[in-house]
Amino acid sequence: MLHTINKSPFSADSFDTCLKFAQEGDPILLIEDGVYAAQCSSKVSGQLAQHSATNDFYALSSDLKARGISVLCDQVKVIDYAGFVELAEKHQVNSWL
């Protein structure tokens, strides 16, 4: 199952909640304000690093650029909308609004 998170991990509970319910091996895609979780050296980067042992993290390129986020956590792969569709081909989608 592909999980998408679209809210900032600093002001909403989507990031925490999604990580609680996602199963091992599920890919997690950060979109919209959710991409702030991909930036390194913040107070949530430890949490992301820890979960990267069991889940692959992705972030949407156009959302990163729009927000000027260039220094990412190592564990995050940057993809475009074509990559988003490819993940959605392989997995059902669970959008954590």
């Binding site: 679209n6 919209e32 475009d80 909308y81 074509a82 569709v85 959605a88 081909e89 989608v93 609004l97």
Partner: protein, 118 residues
């Protein structure tokens, strides 16, 4: 594969309408079928033809209309539309008002129903 989109927020106020559109285009470019975009909650505000954003910004209603012209059904939930003052006379080209039964049929029919919202 067959895809459909459920869009739960209005235009401009949230990025959801943008994300849904870019995802829709990428689905079609990959050769998949996008059967429909169903608008719910404030999402129904996406299809008013009176939308008139600044010239140098994107025109979100026209985007849906453009997808509609390519055969994607652009569907606005009737109950949600009535609460927010969206009726047939306001609809942009290639969009229509329908019921939640239609969304259920879509959910049964497609391989992927992907939600965008806030």
């Amino acid at each position: 594969m067959k895809f459909a989109i459920l869009l739960k927020e209005g235009p401009y106020n949230h990025e959801a309408a943008d994300t849904a559109y870019h995802f829709a285009k990428a689905v079609m470019e990959k050769g998949h079928t996008l059967t429909s975009v169903f608008l719910y909650n404030d999402g129904v505000i996406n299809v008013t033809k009176l939308m008139d954003p600044p010239q140098d910004d994107r025109h979100i209603a026209n985007r849906w209309s453009e997808l509609g012209a390519k055969g994607v059904r652009i569907l606005s939930c009737i109950a949600a539309s009535k609460r927010r003052g969206i009726e047939d006379s306001l609809l942009t080209d290639h969009s229509e008002i329908t019921g939640l039964g239609e969304l259920t049929d879509i959910a049964i029919d497609v391989d992927r129903l992907v939600t965008f919202g806030a």
